[in-house]
């Protein structure tokens, strides 16, 4: 299979404009005849549902939660990037493009990233018009701040709740279309299968999580906006219901899965503390603007932080990266924290934590100024850890946060299954091997508000009509398949809960396919995952009924897919014999411990094709061509 990216010809600055002109249009009077299914109501799915309905399409939107306002985009704290250059500090579309390609360690498609940077400014305009209460300067104009890894101030924010405010903006736009009768909103639904007829995506099967009933829904096109797979680690900053199942069912039906080993481990999270823990809490990396990261100079120093004198502290980020200091990109900061903890310098009860210290910032700006910037984060920390970060440094450690890998899509955001579009974190397209801070919100909204409304029209205008309805046998087959999978899980009646197996899986992936990976560890992990899958099939216990609300069953269905995904991640990590971004292969590093890319052999996207359960997946490669950015060793020193 040749992976055709369908990148438009011409200079990079003109590709999107040219492409929009070349895309076929759907006659406005015909748009309402087209049914579009959108799965997920985060930034990408909410925005897509609203803007497709605004254009006149008939949209059916599904979400797992009880309301479309709850998707996990809501938890994003820091901000959203745009190339407005309001601070007059040298930003431009070109610089945002360049920073994103470099930050992704040259493993993203140039054309997609350039388009993202171009659209970034429209997103801010639209969100302001929707009533998103962004932070303002005294003169009433929009405020900006600098954010992880950027040397210009291009991040727009709404206190520490930017994701919430952007999501509620999309939710309000979606609600307006629900009221107008253009969107049929179906909450409490979990997608269990994708229906493909004559090679085209034509619908989905969902399980109503309140009644347990499996439903068939047909459409002219299906848009997946189902988020990332960070919960493969069990403990992550993702919400409890974030999962890979929808994307993975699409993979089983023929959509290729790209770069699954590209996962982002966020450097500033509250460390693990007990084996009952259900999730890890992110502390926005905006804290690194004022906080200084350090560990004691002497390994195993157990003194309280305030008793360790300045001269006996190692501000290791400032030492190793004098020009970026505490603001190095996430992958670099995370790896550095792991390195000092592995070497025995870590702090806290487990030794797997480093300090994030605000003492200097409080001395410099005053407690009030710090409180104004980070008050809600400090409160959250104090509540969870039971320590006051104004008086004693925070303890932080990296945690799974975002996944750059995802379903492979072309420039139109369409997967290898015609009619199946994938947007937001669920696709692989824009962040390469590492995502920069404040870029996830930008990408989700760009895909939803400003890309899919154009590209889906191009597909629909050329697709055969009418689309098959739910009487087509493919729907019945898909329902039966979902039912069989559910029954199998219900009938095991073993001893272990889905969570206990998922937790064990998370430990394996974290240990061997987390911040650092090597051939021996990955091979070992592959074997461990296989035996855990056997344990899952033989010893799972799901009490209750499948004809009822049953959260254990939902967890079991998700865990089954996470087990398979974990295997694919490990395989991808084994195959990529280089270090880049969040993928750090210990065999491939420079003398001072930095990631060493191998552009000669790995300057490509790896996309995996499912070849049947139990068979090894087939590897495909999309070469990455850089015409505008010169490949270089990333340096933040």
């Amino acid at each position: 299979m040749e992976l055709a990216g369908h990148i438009p010809a011409g200079p990079i600055t003109e590709k999107w404009e040219r492409h929009r002109f070349e895309l076929k249009l759907v006659n406005p009077a015909n748009k309402r005849k087209y049914e579009i299914i959108v799965v997920g109501t985060g930034l990408a799915g909410g925005a897509a549902s609203a803007s497709l309905a605004e254009l006149g399409y008939s949209v059916k939107t599904f979400c797992i939660q009880d309301s479309p306002r709850r998707a996990h985009s809501i938890a994003a704290q820091g901000g959203i990037n745009a190339a407005k250059n309001y601070p007059n500090d040298g930003d431009s579309i070109w610089r945002l493009f360049y920073d994103t390609v470099k930050g992704g360690d040259y493993r993203a498609r140039e054309a997609n990233v350039y388009r993202l940077a171009q659209i970034s400014n429209h997103i801010i305009d639209h969100c302001v018009a929707q009533g998103v209460p962004f932070a303002r300067e005294y003169g009433g104009l929009l405020a900006n701040r600098s954010f992880g890894g950027a040397q210009v101030s291009r991040t727009f924010y709404a206190r520490g709740q930017t994701g919430q405010q952007l999501l509620l903006g999309a939710y309000r736009a979606l609600s307006r279309q629900v009221a107008a009768g253009k969107v049929l909103m179906l909450p409490h639904r979990e997608m269990t299968d994708l229906v493909v007829v004559d090679g085209r995506a034509r619908g989905i099967v969902v399980r109503d999580t309140v009644t347990g009933i499996l439903e068939k829904h047909a459409a002219d096109a299906v848009v997946l906006a189902t988020g990332g797979y960070g919960n493969v680690f069990f403990l992550s900053t993702n919400a409890m219901s974030s999962n890979v199942s929808a994307a993975f069912q699409a993979y089983r039906k023929g959509a290729l899965f790209a770069n699954p080993c590209f996962t982002q481990i966020h450097p500033t999270c509250i460390p693990r503390h007990g084996d009952y823990q259900s999730k890890l809490t992110l502390m926005s990396e905006s804290l690194r603007n004022d906080g200084r990261v350090w560990v004691p100079k002497e390994a195993g120093d157990r003194r309280p932080p305030n008793e360790i004198p300045e001269g006996e502290r190692d501000y290791y980020l400032e030492r190793r990266y004098p020009s970026f200091g505490n603001l190095v990109p996430r992958d670099v900061a995370s790896r550095a924290a792991k390195a000092v903890c592995d070497a025995g310098y870590g702090v806290g009860p487990t030794g797997y934590a480093v300090y994030l210290d605000f003492e200097d910032a409080i001395k410099r700006d005053g407690r009030l100024a710090i409180q104004k910037k980070y008050g809600n984060l400090f409160d959250m920390y104090r509540n969870i850890v039971d320590e006051d970060p104004y008086l004693t440094p925070m303890m932080i450690y990296p945690a799974s946060h975002y996944t750059m890998g995802g379903l492979w899509v072309d420039y139109n955001l369409m997967s290898t299954i015609p009619g199946l579009f994938v947007i937001g974190e669920a696709n692989f397209s824009d962040h390469g091997a590492n995502r920069l801070g404040a870029s996830a919100l930008m990408q989700g909204l760009a895909d939803g508000y400003f890309i899919i409304p154009y590209t889906i029209g191009g597909y629909l205008a050329a697709s055969p009509r009418p689309a098959p309805d739910t009487d087509h046998p493919a729907f019945e087959e898909a329902v039966k398949d979902s039912m069989d999978r559910i029954r199998r899980l219900m009938e095991i009646r073993g001893k272990r809960s889905p969570d206990s197996i998922h937790r064990e899986l998370g430990d394996i992936v974290w240990e061997y396919c987390g911040m650092a990976r090597n051939e021996a560890g990955l091979s070992k992990a592959a074997g461990m995952i296989q035996s855990l899958r056997r344990e899952f099939r033989e010893n799972l216990n799901v009490p209750g009924s499948d004809q009822d609300m049953n959260q254990n069953l939902q967890k079991a269905l998700r865990a089954a897919d996470f087990l398979d995904l974990a295997e694919l991640m490990v395989l991808d990590a084994l195959e990529r014999k280089e270090s880049c971004g969040g993928h750090f292969r210990e065999e491939h590093q420079t003398e001072d411990g930095e990631a060493r890319r191998d552009d000669e052999n790995f300057c490509h996207v790896t996309a995996w094709e499912h070849t049947g359960d139990g068979n090894p997946p087939e590897k495909h490669v999309e070469p990455l061509v850089f015409e505008n950015v010169k490949l270089a060793q990333r340096s933040y020193k």
């Binding site: 709850r70 809501i74 639209h126 302001v128 609600s175 309140v210 969870i384 809960s497």
Partner: protein
Amino acid sequence: MSTETGKINITLEVWRQKIGEKGRFETIQVPGVEIHMSFLEMLDVVNERLTADGRETIEFDSDCREGICGTCGAVVNGVPHGPEKAMTLCQLHMRKFKDGDVIVVEPWRARAFKVLKDLVMDRGALDRLIEAGGYISTNAGSAPEANNIPVPQPVADDAMDAAACIGCGACVAACPNASAMLFVAANVSHLSLLPQGRPEAAKRVLDMQRAMDSLGFGNCSNERECEAACPKEIKITHIARLNRQFFKAALSSREK
């Protein structure tokens, strides 16, 4: 107190209800609760133990577990989201309880919300309220340049205070009349404070008020219980602003 060991023993009186059936309280002994657990992690542990015994688990809603998504919520010892001020249930930690405590856990009680199972509620009525007019009508692509709409910083701050609502419904659960006044007021206040939201302000407040009545929410009688229960500390001054707008719209606007 056995906080030296970091563990406490508690008794849960928890609401159990099946779809379409009447509910009842069930007593569950929970020994050995680590005090650094969150309340929901405690429920996770209870569910793990129930699963091990082959018993049906307690269904409860939660998602982000960071206090921002608004999914979680239960009435704990008579108080929505439990005893701590300005906090969602997922942020409540077991160190706030003592060894030997009996903890009563039940879902929101309100005419407009239906209990689906155990502690899981259908709060779709809150979505219906937003659909009734809680938005600014603007299509993607039609916005002017963002800085063409200056907003004075204090106004933006006030709007943000109101916009912090997470839509959990605790205000409704706390209100003796099960009114959604604080929820509606937060939305109306946020949007009408901003210049972008003014053109539809009159229509919005009238439509949302009307929807609140028709969805089975009660009226506001200034009990202030909503403000006390709100995990995001939304102030009832927003209700005052809503009332002003309502009267202005009802008396003088062309919107009916």
